[in-house]
């Protein structure tokens, strides 16, 4: 029994990893005041680029680096539209998703169904991995798992313990006041969107070269959208994002766990999406003042003269 639980929890961690990466990226982005609905598309681009580069070069980390670059690059489109052009961020994000899903489908067509021979070895942390139960769950994991946790903590440090973090948060709260302190609001927002895109692409890379080790169209399966919901659930705090993401990782695993009970797999696949709605209802029952939402989220900021 203990073995089963440990194995379920281990899979929960794996399933939660891409959610964590994407959520932390979106937290940084939204903290600067930009809503990026494009992460589903960016994730998909990250997945395909990582897969192709890995299969061609045989170097998974090269694949990850390429995915990171591609994710940041394509996010520039959203940054340009929402910051420079002050366009509607909902529409611009949707456009990015369409473009990202389309481009990844185009690029990835020759690779559909190809298996990935190169394996990203699980990293066992010496000593810690020998701890019974917890060792298996937490310390014998894909490198992406450690990377995600590290980046989440780093993002927390960035936002809470550095001047740049104060600038990012201020930009999302009150851009015009922030600008009077000599902060370049546009630059901060560009940077946050691009960093957020990089995180989403990493999430995608994890999906294609570590999680399922193959590429098919639509493999992101709405994880990008769930990450946007998790951003709210995490109250825009990268620390909270950690457990929020792994909770959702658990929900993803749960659908496979319940299948033997004779429930239709299609009904079970609805589960994460329905759970997202339920979680959002629960969070809304909280005191809105403590929700911590950036005050100027999704509002274009126009620099300058009245």
């Amino acid at each position: 029994m203990e073995d089963i639980i440990a194995s379920v929890l281990q899979r929960t961690m794996i399933a939660g990893t891409p959610l964590l990466l994407a959520t932390v990226g979106e937290v940084i982005c939204e903290r600067s005041g930009i809503l990026n609905l494009g992460i589903e598309g960016v994730m998909s681009v990250g997945a395909v680029v990582a897969f192709i580069v890995t299969i061609v070069t045989g170097q998974p980390w090269l694949g990850v680096a390429a995915a990171l670059c591609a994710g940041m690059l394509i996010s520039v489109i959203h940054a340009f539209a929402s910051v420079t052009l002050q366009a509607n961020q909902v529409v611009s994000g949707l456009a990015l998703t369409m473009l990202g899903l389309g481009l990844s489908g185009m690029l990835g067509k020759p690779y559909i169904g190809k298996p990935l021979d190169i394996k990203m070895e699980a990293l066992s942390i010496p000593f810690l991995s020998d701890i019974p139960f917890a060792g298996q769950i937490l310390f014998r994991q894909s490198p992406f798992f450690y990377l995600a946790i590290f980046l989440a903590l780093a993002a927390w440090f960035l936002l809470e313990r550095t001047l740049l973090g104060i600038k990012i948060k201020s930009t999302g709260e009150n851009p015009s006041a922030t600008e009077t302190h000599g902060v370049n609001v546009y630059a901060i927002r560009y940077m946050s969107v691009i960093i957020g895109g990089g995180f989403s692409a990493l999430a995608g890379a994890h999906l294609s070269i570590s999680y399922s080790r193959s590429w098919i169209e639509g493999m992101t399966a709405g994880r990008g959208w769930i990450a946007i919901a998790l951003t709210i659930f995490a109250l825009w705090n990268p620390g909270r994002a950690i457990w929020a993401s792994f909770l959702f990782g658990g929900i993803f695993v749960l659908q496979y766990l319940l299948q033997p009970l004779g429930i239709s797999p299609n009904l079970l696949s609805m589960f994460p999406y329905a759970a997202t709605l339920v979680i959002l209802v629960l969070i809304s029952l909280k005191d809105p003042r403590k929700l911590n939402a950036p005050a100027k989220l999704a509002e274009p900021y126009k620099r300058g003269e009245r």
């Binding site: 313990r161 550095t162 001047l163 740049l164 104060i166 600038k167 948060k169 201020s170 709260e173 009150n174 015009s176 006041a177 922030t178 600008e179 009077t180 302190h181 000599g182 902060v183 003042r289 911590n292 005050a295 003269e305 009245r306």
Partner: protein
Amino acid sequence: MKQIETLEMVEISKSFQGVYANRNLSLNVGSGEILGLLGENGAGKTTLMNILYGLYQPDSGSILINGEKAEIQSPIDSISKGIGMVHQHFMLIQNHSVIENIALGYKDTPFFFPKLSIRQKVREFAEKFRLDIDLSKRVWELSAGEQQRVEIINALLNGADVLILDEPTSVLTPQEIRELFMILNDMKKHGHMIIFISHKLDEVMEICDRVTVLRKGEIIGSADTRKTDKKALARMMVGKDVIFNIKKEKLNRGNPVLNVDHIRVLDDKGKVAVKDISFAVHEYEIFGVAGVAGNGQRELAEAITGIRQAASGKISIKGADITNLSPRKIYDSGVSHIPEERIKFGIAPGLFLYDNAILKQHHLKKYSRRSFLHYKRIKQHSMELVDNFNVFTSSINTEIRNLSGGNIQKLILGREISEDPPLLVASHPTYGLDVGATQYLRERLLDRRRLGGSVLLFSEDLDEIFEVCDRVAVIFEGEFTGIIEPGDEHTGDIGMMMAGSLRI
């Protein structure tokens, strides 16, 4: 350490969309001097100071520091040269703590652990200038006076030798104003220069050494405050003698229209904003509510007009109970409303002027037949409003966001009184308007009174209150500290009542 001994602005001009906000303005300040910048709203004071602070670039003219030309492209330049500014609307991040705000504004904040590393330095500065403040509180928990102190600490920390204060007293209680003046005098002793923007004669006379008067973007004159008087300044400011009292005819109060009975209202945060207030407003009467903003005026107005629920108590119009009815039902029972934040509540900015001219009235029979709107009649009505209320616009087919604030306000006023409502609730109706528009609006309010209507007027402007009101209630922390009539023995004590230190 001191960077600035003298500061001059020479022949500064700046225009927005072809309209001059500043025209060939020149001024100078010297060490240890407080210069008053006096003028009506829209005279160009803030624009001029925003140029000095680097927020705007002048079309022409230059800034000289210690006699040398200074390039100020942005606030970063001005801060590094020793210029600080406290804006009228504080540039603070409401959701952040005081220390986070200061860290954001301080030019030498280290990258890592910013809050921790500057805390000690901030404390020292706060003590030196007796600026008492809790650094870990969030800004929205602070009073306006405390927020202002945060801004001042910020400027001083950055080594501001010149401190620009834009309408610093507009949000303060009389007590807080005294404290601010003490701080300013301290700073003066330390050799700081201060530019004090205001449109209040008394304050300028009290705190400033010299005063420069602006009108319509031009300098009208400068004077030493010891060698001039209020009358002379007022004449310069308005360009004519100020009418301290519109001649209003004596009218006898009629039947009560609005009865407010032991009303309690909560604010957005769930705190009690209005505590047990009772009063009545009659026909042929303008009833004023004076007080510093944020003492429950908004909540009271919103409860009467139905935008906000009253927690307890009763509100009635001509005897009919309207407590907590929907805004539309309350409108239909005869209550019009000029809201405090006209852009936020009073208009739909992207819709046409004529659409906005019937907001709240679109359900009335004359504008809608079954479910269709009668646009011909609506447009005709809009034309009449534009003509009758001097709304300056290119056409009624323009989006209302293209109109200036004053013209939007005139349209809202026209819309709200065009149906001859028994009660008009007007919150700060002349705020931010120029002299002409202000005068015009006040006269329309008096017209309502003459025709037998009743008006409930919320205002921070005491001149306005005393000009038009028959009775004035003073509100402080959600309670009336008294109801007085102009000429009352307590009139002189209204400042004390606004600060809550006197009840009658």
